[in-house]
């Protein structure tokens, strides 16, 4: 009998929602590993100048296309630059592009979705048809077209990738906003005379943060992939800036003679994207335990 009582006490104890999510996440080993990789990547990006053994742009034609050695653990590229250093510096660009692009997508998508879901009717209809149009073109093609028109630069790359991600956030927030619109606390806010903008910012958006966070985590992974693809096609970050996609693109010509130029930068992208996806999956499972077995 004592055992029964203890169980109920533990069950009844109120845990904060965040604590509960963390408790569930902690049980997911893969998600934790993913998170560690992401944290590590942030550390590497922040301390790149300290961690990189060489200047990523120092050209030395005497040592070009060298394989791994103790001096250059991942070898050197066609200009004799140290690949490890370039990958370390490249982490900055990838993370920056990934997060800013998702920021653009989430902010614009979130606002459009909230407006559509909150007001409904014609405004909603117009916004959603616009999203349908954006969704009618494959994401990467849309990004290519935007970059092609705006010209290649870091900012344009982030804008292009960001815009191509707008629809997914718009749809997500719209769905939440529509279900929240009729609920009592929103009615209550309206009754005390809160403006629409205030209701959206203070009541609607905070209440759909959980799915937005999950979607953003997976979105950063997708954005890093898109940005790298564009750079690979020569439509993103331009040489000599150390960026993983453009490093691959340059290394491609030496696939036969010096494959390490292509192997390592791609591996870096794959690891980061995998870590973000595993973590995003785990986060979704712990935020929505119903989806778990």
């Amino acid at each position: 009998m004592i055992a029964v009582n203890e169980r109920t006490v533990i069950r009844d104890k109120k845990r904060s929602q965040l604590g509960e999510v963390w408790r569930r996440l902690r049980r997911n080993k893969a998600a934790l590993l993913g998170m560690s990789v992401i944290v590590l990547l942030f550390v590497v990006a922040v301390f790149a100048p300290l961690l990189a053994p060489y200047d990523p742009n120092r050209i030395d034609m005497k040592i070009r296309l060298q394989a791994s050695s103790s001096a250059h653990p991942l070898g050197t590229d066609n200009f004799g630059r140290d690949i490890l250093s370039r990958i370390i510096w490249g982490s900055r660009i990838s993370l920056y592009v990934g997060f800013v692009a998702v920021g653009i997508g989430a902010v614009f998508g979130g606002i459009l979705g909230a407006i559509g879901g909150f007001y409904g009717k014609r405004i909603d209809n117009v916004i959603m048809r616009l999203m349908d149009v954006l969704l009618a073109v494959p994401q990467i093609i849309l990004a290519i077209a935007i970059v092609g028109v705006l010209g290649t630069s870091l900012t344009n790359l982030m804008v292009a990738v960001g815009i191509s991600q707008v629809p997914r956030y718009a749809r997500l927030v719209r769905a939440s906003a529509m279900s929240l619109r009729g609920q009592e606390f929103v009615e209550a806010a309206r009754a005390i005379g809160a403006s629409d903008v205030r209701i959206i910012l203070e009541n609607i958006l905070p209440n759909c943060m959980a799915p937005i966070i999950v979607q953003s985590t997976l979105g950063v992974a997708a954005a890093i992939l898109s940005a790298a693809s564009l750079s690979f096609l020569g439509l993103g970050i331009q040489p000599p800036t150390p960026e993983w996609g453009s490093m691959l693109s340059a290394g491609r010509q030496f696939l036969r003679s010096a494959p390490h130029l292509s192997i390592y930068p791609g591996l870096a992208i794959a690891i980061v994207v995998l870590a973000l996806n595993v973590f995003g999956d785990g986060l979704r499972d712990s935020l929505d335990p119903k989806l778990r077995q």
């Binding site: 009998m1 055992a3 029964v4 169980r7």
Partner: protein, 335 residues
């Protein structure tokens, strides 16, 4: 005395979950004679469905596991039968009718196919012959045979349950296990379906285990009744005996829960408390925490089955046969 068709002995089933070992069925015995109908009553979570699924050997494994016991059906122990042999029994010698007709039919297959696939498997009929027989079965449950090609979503709830009944009867089984077959239906439809089941049972001479939490249904169709509580059968006997004079304190409580149209609603006496957490092993009687007549012995010692007047009771009060007769009247007068 008839020969026993099904004899379950000391059956125990557990589910191994993240939170621990859940003991769903705890060493139960059941007896069913050929041509008779046994009612298995109890509140939800008492282990009725698990009992039925274990007889069919359909307990989802993992997490479920039949840890002990035997179930002798037509002279063979179903628990040790090879899976191939068991497949020949399922749907052929023993059929099952499930609770919710809305979910127990496959939404993407025509109902005809869902009836005839059992016929094709067990009676080795060709497709056309099986379809013809399926049509006859539909007619038996009062659905026109030309609706064979229709999909479940084109039928109402009551009709779907009749389709399920047709499916169960298709191979003319010796035993049907019906798991709350009317619970999910409207009250008016419930009576229709129940009447149909009774009719067909008599026509085919099928034995039946009727699982329900509704004592009214038991009174309507059963010859014998087993009362289940927290994975154990606490009382088991002839329907007339138990309805006339419930003996186990839980059975007594169950009967006091039935509203009587001649009395005000305030005279319903629900049993206080809840079923014990099945994750926590109980050393004593499973009903002890809620029992109005519990003694110190009940908390520490598990009662064995006492045989009183042809019925089995798991309660210390009857262990020595001392309170055999006076008890029923006595508790009623308490109320």
């Amino acid at each position: 005395m008839n020969t026993p068709l099904l004899q379950v002995r000391n059956l125990s089933v557990v589910y191994r979950t993240f939170e621990g070992v859940l003991r769903a069925v705890n060493g139960i015995d059941l007896d069913l004679e050929a041509g008779r109908t046994l009612g298995l009553v109890g509140e939800s979570g008492a282990g009725k469905t698990t009992t039925a699924l274990s007889v069919m050997r359909l307990v989802p494994t993992p997490p479920g596991e039949i840890v002990s016991g035997s179930a002798t059906f037509e002279g063979r122990d179903l628990m040790t039968l090879p899976e191939r042999e068991m497949m020949r029994i399922r749907g052929n010698r023993i059929s099952m009718i499930f609770q919710d007709p809305m979910t127990s039919l496959n939404p993407v297959l025509p109902v005809g196919l869902q009836i005839s696939e059992a016929l094709e498997a067990h009676q080795k009929l060709g497709k056309a012959e099986a379809a013809r027989k399926a049509g006859q079965m539909l007619e038996k449950v009062q659905i026109p045979a030309q609706r064979l090609q229709e999909y479940p979503h084109e039928f109402s709830g009551g009709m779907r349950q009749r389709v399920v009944i047709a499916m169960a009867l298709a191979c003319n089984p010796r035993l049907i296990i019906a798991d709350e077959p009317t619970t999910a239906l409207d009250v008016t439809i419930q009576i229709q379906v129940l009447e149909l089941m009774k009719e067909l049972r008599n026509e085919f001479g099928t034995s039946m285990i009727m699982i329900t939490h509704d004592l009214g249904v038991v009174g309507e169709v059963c010859d014998r009744v087993a009362v289940m509580y927290a994975g154990e059968i606490v009382e088991d006997g002839d329907i007339a005996q138990i309805f006339d004079q419930p003996m186990h304190p839980y059975t007594v409580g169950l009967f006091k829960c039935i509203p009587n149209i001649e009395e005000p609603a305030s005279t319903i006496h629900p049993i206080r408390g809840m079923m014990p957490d099945p994750l926590v092993p109980m050393p004593g009687c499973c009903f002890e925490p809620r029992c109005p007549e519990a003694t110190a012995r009940c908390a520490t010692e598990r009662p064995g089955g006492a045989l009183v007047d042809g019925r089995r009771i798991r309660c210390h009060l009857y262990a020595d046969g001392k309170r055999a007769f006076a008890h029923g009247r006595e508790t009623v007068s308490h109320a």
